[in-house]
Amino acid sequence: MDIVLNISSGLCLFIGSFLCVSGGIGILRFPDFYTRMHAVGVTGTLGAGMILIGLMLRSTDLLVFAKLVMILLLTLLISPTTSHVLAKAALHNGLMPKLSQNMLEQSKSKETASSKY
């Protein structure tokens, strides 16, 4: 049982750190604000969640485990909301997503429909 817990927690921690690093690479390599925001929002949330699950599998005390569960729930709730708020603020301030030229009219109609939320 011990070795199963060790291996699975190590796997979760490794996957979590790999996801966070790939989110960082995404920020550097993606061309546009919105694609970068998407990269960080998805990989950051899942990476932090996997690291927390890996730590949960290692914890020995019930209090530590409960605190990690709380932190996981709050991260899953807050992190996608902050990505949403950031992208919405950018759209509200007029930063247009970078699209190819012949999709420009489609993007205009899409923008007026999606600015309700």
């Binding site: 709050l74 709730l77 807050i78 949403h84 708020v85 309700k116 939320y117």
Partner: protein
């Protein structure tokens, strides 16, 4: 290893703050600087300080700086002249200071006067004399209560300064207008509003937990006050300043700010009246240990009240001033057009 990485990142962020001209990016970088400092403090095992730095430096002060930027403009003015005499003066003064530190003992050495004078007494005798597990709180609230009183009065003075400079007589807005504002924004910010409504009770509860848990773990009045104020500021940002003013109205908050300082000072006076020194908690009750517990509880409560209300006062007044500026500009634009 982690210290070197964190310090290098701090240095890089500091150089970026100096060189950038866009003030919005500078404010964000200073928030990152606060978070890196908090991580550095955790790496040095100073968890209380890290908590306060994360709450204040990475949270509230970034927010207040953003509010200031809405008033001053986003770009830094370019300077025309290069002040070489100032650079020479700074280099000379800096090298004299570094030369002065060569005489000091090594950082963290056990026989430095700082670590051999009062620190052993605090570490050895804190549990018998005061009886709470967290030595940081016992030093802050009992051994050095007078210094903490000074810090609290400084925070209160900052709140009074902001009130003196930025507040004015408000005309009461009737209830219909507030309902209209609330309803018109309802569709636009649906996701954030729902998530915030779920989270604000937990943030307030966490602030209370930090306030009363300062005896046993990292926490205390300052951090709790900042977290409480952050929850109220979040509500004000999403639901409008006028709605937030109905929830927390200004005279009540000013009263709470003054009451915190008064409570702190009164604890000292009551110990004087009971026969001890100023802020000597042994005389607050029959038993010295329970007197210490009571004294620490009361002064932390005073600190929490004042810090929370001063942060709320500062934010509300800055935001209100900005709203008035914007409504004046709108009126002027309408008159001229």
């Amino acid at each position: 290893m982690i210290d070197i990485v964190l310090l290098t990142l701090l240095l890089v962020v500091a150089i970026a703050i100096i060189r950038m001209k866009d003030l919005f990016a500078v404010v964000m970088l200073s928030g990152i600087y606060g978070l890196l400092s908090a991580s550095f403090f955790v790496a040095m095992d100073a968890v209380d300080v890290a908590f306060t730095e994360a709450a204040v430096g990475a949270g509230i002060s970034t927010l207040l700086m953003l509010v200031v930027i809405t008033m001053t403009g986003r770009n830094e003015n370019t300077t025309r002249h290069k002040p070489f005499p100032a650079l020479v003066l700074v280099v000379i003064t800096g090298s004299l200071l570094i030369y002065g530190t060569l005489d000091m003992p090594y950082f963290g050495s056990a026989d430095a006067p700082v670590h051999s004078h009062v620190a052993p007494r605090y570490i050895n005798d804190s549990m018998q004399e005061i009886g709470i597990p967290n030595i940081v709180t016992s030093i802050l609230a009992s051994y050095r209560a007078f210094d903490t009183f000074g810090e609290l009065v400084v925070i209160f003075t900052a709140g009074i300064g902001v009130l003196a400079l930025l507040s004015s007589v408000r005309r009461p807005i009737d209830g219909d207008k507030i309902v209209c504002i609330n309803y018109s924004m309802h569709e636009q910010h649906l996701v954030v509003r729902i998530v915030t409504k779920m989270l604000i009770p937990f943030i307030l509860l966490f602030a209370l937990y930090v306030q009363f848990h300062g005896d046993f773990g990292p926490g205390g009045g300052f951090q709790a006050g900042v977290i409480f104020a952050a929850a109220i500021i979040l509500y004000a940002m999403l639901f409008g300043l006028s709605t937030a003013r109905i929830v927390i109205n200004q005279p009540f908050i000013q009263l709470i700010a003054a009451t915190g300082v008064l409570l702190y000072g009164s604890v000292g006076l009551v110990s004087l009246l009971n026969g001890g020194n100023f802020f000597d908690y042994n005389f607050l009750s029959n038993d010295p240990l329970s007197g210490q517990h009571l004294g620490i509880l009361l002064i932390e409560l005073g600190v929490g009240c004042t810090v929370a209300s001063v942060m709320i006062i500062i934010f509300f007044n800055f935001a209100d001033y900005r709203e008035r500026q914007q409504s004046h500009e709108n009126e002027q634009n309408q008159e001229s057009s």
